[in-house]
Symmetry: D2
Subunit: 278 residues, 4 copies
């Protein structure tokens, strides 16, 4: 199959769908699916097309750019497996869910490695023939620790996404800059509620009747990156915070895997600290 994904963002103006679809038509490309969205507030146009046909990538990008406003973004992606690295700490539910999906062939991804600050998950990961790298943070300053992680990561080329599957350490802006819009985190609360440490304890103390989880890209402000997916569960007064945590794990792993799937299928546009998801 010769299917390509074309991702376009541009300042909106009259006729964009017409112009782009004319380029597709002139190149004898069949549109298998097509989504557009115009954010009227920011006057931004987004388009994701899945095309069938023979493509000269560079030529097509140029032709599309020629009909778009000057600062438009155009990306053409062959649907091949992406490379991901998973970071985790000690909890295995989110990591385990990804490993099982990978094993089932459901994930369009190669897992290059799992990186952790503990060795607690090594035996699980080894079962799945995935390399496990422990970079302990003990006796290290945050920047030193991160430098060692970045060194480990540098062994892996063409990393498309880093998935924080309950990695319980805060990343510095220096780290985040290296993998801008490529780090997906699962936060164990319905953001922006309960930012910060132990959100289930915070939720318990507040007496909420619903708990949730949020998958988001990581930016330089902790827990404030663009949200990809959220999900919730109803609870009642009988839930202590550890019960919330237990129930929350199911939400966390499903939401993180859903966000990862959206990323692997090139369905997410990031702008204005938000996401457009087709």
């Amino acid at each position: 199959m010769s299917q390509y994904r074309v991702l376009i963002d541009a300042n909106d103006e009259i006729g964009l769908v017409h112009k782009v679809s004319t380029v597709f038509f002139n190149n004898n490309l069949n549109i298998l699916s097509n989504h557009e969205f115009v954010d009227k507030e920011s006057n931004k146009f987004f388009m994701r097309s899945v095309l069938d046909g023979d493509i000269d990538k560079n030529k097509l990008i140029n032709e599309i750019k020629n009909v778009l406003p000057s600062n438009a973004g155009v990306k053409i992606v062959e649907p091949k497996k992406k490379n991901i690295i998973i970071m985790a700490t000690k909890e295995l539910h989110a990591l385990g869910d990804i490993l099982i999906r990978h094993e089932s062939g459901e994930l369009e991804a190669n897992i290059l490695a799992v990186v952790s600050n503990y060795d607690a998950l090594e035996s699980l990961v080894n079962k799945f023939d995935v390399p496990y790298v422990t970079v302990s943070h003990e006796n290290l300053e945050r920047h030193e620790h991160e430098r060692k992680i970045l060194e480990s990561l540098s062994a892996f080329k063409d990393v498309d996404y880093i998935v924080l599957a309950k990695y319980m350490r805060i990343l510095t802006p220096e780290f985040v800059d290296v993998y801008k819009d490529k780090i997906i985190n699962i936060h164990h609360s319905f953001l922006p509620a309960f930012i910060g440490a132990n959100p289930y304890k915070q939720a318990y103390d507040r007496g909420v009747k619903i708990i949730g989880a949020t998958a988001h890209f990581v930016n330089n402000n902790l827990d404030e990156g663009p949200i990809i997916a959220q999900e919730v569960k109803h609870i009642d007064h009988s839930y202590g915070w550890r019960d919330m945590q237990r129930l929350g794990r199911d939400v966390e792993k499903i939401v993180l895997s859903r966000a990862l799937k959206l990323a692997l299928e090139d369905r997410i546009f990031v702008y204005a600290n938000k996401t457009v998801i087709f």
Copy 2:
């Protein structure tokens, strides 16, 4: 404002988006929002566009038809209030929800009348200055009763939709034919589960843990028309069937109003006993 909705369905072939958007572009029409969907199984193409600009409706329809396969459907709708008639029996929650939305100005519709086989809801409806027509079914055969209703309805011109807000009588094919794809019903179950009478009692007997409601267009097979919207609520063993019914009312009214809104905004395509909803 000069906003128009263009609704297209056609057999799919390469270049349809290109061809239609070219017609829009040549007519100097701005696409405010655009949705397409191709059902690959049946090779059917659907498109809904909201356009801004000056339109000669007949000319535009012709130009669009000229670029589409021969049996394509093209409809252009000015966004003006549609005319609806509500049919009900004795329960007021679904009817009341629509009346309140109408009162708040939220509904793009004129309520021409409420028609019922009882006078139980008359005092409520009169509060809202909506005509109320009682057509009792007592001592009448089904066809006779329907003929009398159709007579009453014939007084109202340009009826866009008939909303069955818990109208508890079965409509015959003859009736349905008169208002094909225009009758919206709320069924008090998660269809296709619990077709037929007293679905809450059936659900109770089966011991389900979730109840639901389904808004659908009415066709000639009872409870088997194209589904527009569905919603559910979790329950537990402590719910008797009357508790389910009480809880179910909230689901029913919200789902029916949501389906009505989709219809009034021309967002629904019906085909193959299903709906495509943009």
Copy 3:
């Protein structure tokens, strides 16, 4: 029917269920339903029983108190209609939902009056033969305005609950003190997210994928009272903040009416700024 609700809260100790149920048994009272909960963290015991039989209220309260720790709370409620006052501003969806439920006989309550700082809802309320009191806040300081409202409210005796059905003004601690644990508010967000003004705008700016509403008792800290019920809806990038607001209205009205129902049925215990709900 001679059904009574017995509400007990006490410091927990061994044998409370035994002791209380023995009192019921000795009084020849049948337990129709019974719920207990022990909050282990605060060592608090809660119990709600629905009893069938002949009751001498004061005698029964004394007998129950005699078997409980000294500072226990015991309340016996006959299931009769409670008296409520609704406060609103200009939006009619939440108020309308309560009026319709009242009209249908679903609500175990008398609506004594609707009080508003505008006359915008007067014609709607009058349809339902409910007194409408406008107390304009124009040219008044907050305390002056509240004093005038309290004066109006003082005309109504035995007020069980005040329901803020989108009353858009902040109440002072003085006002709240008068109706402690009796004021139910609907907040148009999934608290504690988006406290304060225009939460839908805040939610839009943050790019959330779920919006919600929270019914809670009002205490002296704005938006921080004990939560009674919460509900959510999924949204996507195509929702502007006004779309969120429109969708949110359905959530708001359902959640507020659900919270009101729980209150009217004496199912809510308030403690530690939380609720236990049976």
Copy 4:
């Protein structure tokens, strides 16, 4: 810890809570949590208590039975790990979810073995040091095949539950009788909708807007056993039946694991082809 679970079902009569709690009190047992439910329609009383203290099991059962109607059921369970066997066919999502939970220590169970009619899942199961038994159905009549499975199962003693984690073969009444109320199945639809083969295809053809999954005990009527848990997901017209299947897998595994957890914690009573769940 000396925590016991007491499970009682009996015909309802006045004073049952009093009588049972008096036995607990006289034995100096502390009630950690307590749930009762009376099904008024069938006049059945259910109670689950978690007790703390020293217990002589047989003596306590006798004392409780002495205060209950003659045909009452009383069971006392020490909270120790239960023994389960998982049956599967080729899909690994539901099985994988249980294996990961087991690995994390979240499951109060020993997995004695995984039994399948294919060897497709053997390498996955072996990773987790769980015995894998393949009993191929090829060239065997249904009863012969089941006899061979029962033989394999007979090697495992004290089996508390058999979990059908997408075991795609119908079990005969003979098989079910051996493990009455001990076989938990996940059905890939929102029962009772779409009984039988390929429910996602059926759901697609019907054009539903929500799909679901149902965990239930297996009885002699296919897909008609007592329902334990159900969950749903919203879909739209863009979902082909394979998309529904993919999304459905997440629902299936979460619902099955939730049902298993309820069973392992002795929270489920089965009667009248329904469940009471505390």
